[in-house]
Amino acid sequence: MSEKPKEIMFAQACNMAMAKAMEDDPKVILMGEDIADEQGGGVFKVTLGLSEKFGTDRVRSTPISEQAIVGAAVGSAMVGYKPVAEIMLMNFITVAMDQIVNHAAKLRFMSGGQTTVPLTIRTTTGAGTGLGGQHSDMLEAWLAHVPGLKVVAASNPADAYGLLYSSIMDPNPVIFIENTPGYFVKGPAPAPDHTVPLGKASVPREGTDITLIGYGSSISRCHAAAEKLAEGGISCEIVDLRTIAPFDEETVLKSVAKTKAAVVVHEAVRNFGVGAEISSRIHEELFSELKAPVGRVGSGYAPVPFSPAIEKAWLFSQDDIEREVHKILG
């Protein structure tokens, strides 16, 4: 990774962001299962090379102890460190929910601002990996529902680099969600000093007829759907939230005020998802201006299936987005 390629993979971008943060701030430390080089640099090799560069004091492989990992991150964060804890797969945060929800998210508040918890929890998930029910869930809505946490999901390598760096430097606890199949997606390489502020959405495609709102893995499918819909004369604007919580209400509302129609798209199951919140906020603010109620596209209300045939049927698709857009625009 010494020579800077013009295009990089998502996983590489995360690695570079951590390296940059560790260079910039000696208080940045990493911990997680198998993350040091001797243990392979992480199951998806996202931390490869970092322990060699920064030492195993700062890049610490841990036992399989999700509560202990997050707890150690919380404690060290309270007294000046900026820990980045890797939870190997998002489903395993269920094991550490107490530390995340009851402690990381609340200690600033419950202490009246005397202590803060500037930690980042990196985790990965996503369907399409054939890992079945316990290794592919998108649980961001749970976390977004907890006051005191920030939740971030990037859709391309440059954003991943900028957002992960910002997450590590943020004074709040941040959950940084990576997409497992998306690790190998390539995109333009960021400049070393590239950052993306938390809480700010981007508008990677402008349009006039309808707004597609998504984040993370849904954005590439939004782009594909928008291309296809453009052939039929429908102009889609895309809003990439980048930060799920707190979400950039201003950018979302500005876009929908212009297009007067919207669909929220995410890989997580549709029911009780992030889309419900965003849709509701749009209705509250723009109800009388909308051409039709806000649509939602998400995956089926079932655990992620194993068999590729069912997994494909369960997962939201580009077709679902197009169908929803046609339904809304009549």
């Binding site: 509560q67 707890g71 150690a72 964060a77 007294v79 107490d98 009851n102 402690h103 009246g112």
Partner: protein, 327 residues
């Protein structure tokens, strides 16, 4: 106990001073709640004063403490000023946490009290993080993490002690074993005969001590602190003690056999410690002066808790994140 085993006279006076403040505070809290002057959930600490007083006498102000809902004794022993603490228990703006933490969530970094949690056992992994920071910073601090015997049945205990041991963290796990978790006796819910065994099973230096014996408890605490500061790693101290009141105020302890409670009250550590001071030729007048001073502190603190104002309602918008949240 042979006199040679006795802690230094000054140390015993120090422990007594802390323990008496705790005892009087506990009595006052129960009185005021009973009289309807305070409406708060309260977990009595009467009976466990000496454990935490001796432990905190062995550490410095800069050392960290992580404790639990039943934490009044730990917090006072560590040095949180009574006024600030009482105000927080009452939910007032002048409290340690602006009334946003309350009795179960006391934080006071000035005296090293970093976390008080209402989730049984969950302070253990966080204490490791504080210990890790001290280890990396080489600042020589130790972290004391208090919890009950019941907490050793939660996964976080096992994960946390394992991690502390493999990383040799400067953390002292102080299990205040009062033999009951809520209404459940230890033998009913805990597979091992002692908590010490559990620490040993995790490869940790583990000791069991009569926590109600000030000298023994202080010696165990001091040894653990020195061991941690020398970089050898954590210690699990199982300090045997008892609580004389229900799990929380209002619980009548109907599940504790009468004889067991009677015996425990006969072994009340407070009169025993007081007698030890007299035996060391500390005069009744000197002891009474300590008690009077503590009484005055508590009088002032409890009155302050009643008189000082509540936070404004929209204080909830502050400290959620680093920016104020929208109304």
């Amino acid at each position: 106990m042979a006199n040679s085993d006795m802690a230094d006279k000054d140390v015993l006076i120090d422990i007594f001073t802390r323990a008496d403040l705790i005892m009087q505070s506990d009595i006052k809290f129960r009185q005021m709640i009973g009289a309807g002057q305070l409406q708060i959930v309260y977990y009595p600490v009467r009976g466990q004063e000496v454990v935490s007083s001796a432990m905190m006498a062995a550490v410095n102000k800069e050392d960290y403490l992580v404790t639990i809902y039943r934490g009044l004794h730990d917090q006072l022993a560590k040095g949180i000023p009574s006024k600030d603490l009482w105000a927080e228990f009452a939910g007032k703006m002048a409290g340690t946490c602006k009334g946003k933490g309350g009795p179960m969530h006391i934080t006071h970094p000035e005296t090293g009290v970093m976390v008080t949690t209402g989730i049984v056992g969950s302070g253990i992994p966080i204490a490791n993080g504080l210990g890790l920071a001290s280890q990396l910073d080489k600042d020589g601090k130790v972290t004391v993490c208090c919890f009950g015997d019941g907490a050793t049945n939660i996964g976080a205990f096992h994960e946390g002690l394992n991690m502390a041991q493999i990383w040799k963290l400067p953390v002292i796990f102080l299990c205040q074993n009062n033999l009951y978790s809520e209404h459940t006796p230890m033998a009913f819910a805990t597979s091992s005969d002692s908590i010490k065994q559990r620490g040993e099973g995790l490869g940790m230096r583990s000791v069991q001590v009569n926590g109600n014996d000030a000298s023994a408890m202080y010696a165990a605490a001091k040894e653990a602190v020195e061991y941690a500061r020398a970089g050898h790693g954590p210690t699990l101290i199982e300090a045997m003690t008892f609580r004389f009141h229900g799990h929380l105020l209002g619980d009548t302890s109907h599940y504790i056999p009468k004889e067991e409670m009677e015996q425990a009250k006969k072994d009340d550590p407070m009169p025993i410690l007081r007698q030890q001071l007299l035996d060391l030729q500390i005069s009744e007048a000197d002891i009474a002066a300590i008690e009077a001073k503590n009484a005055a502190i508590i009088e002032e603190a409890s009155q302050f808790a009643l008189d000082t104002p509540y936070p404004p309602g929209d204080e909830y918008r502050i400290d959620v994140l680093d920016v104020e949240i929208a109304a």
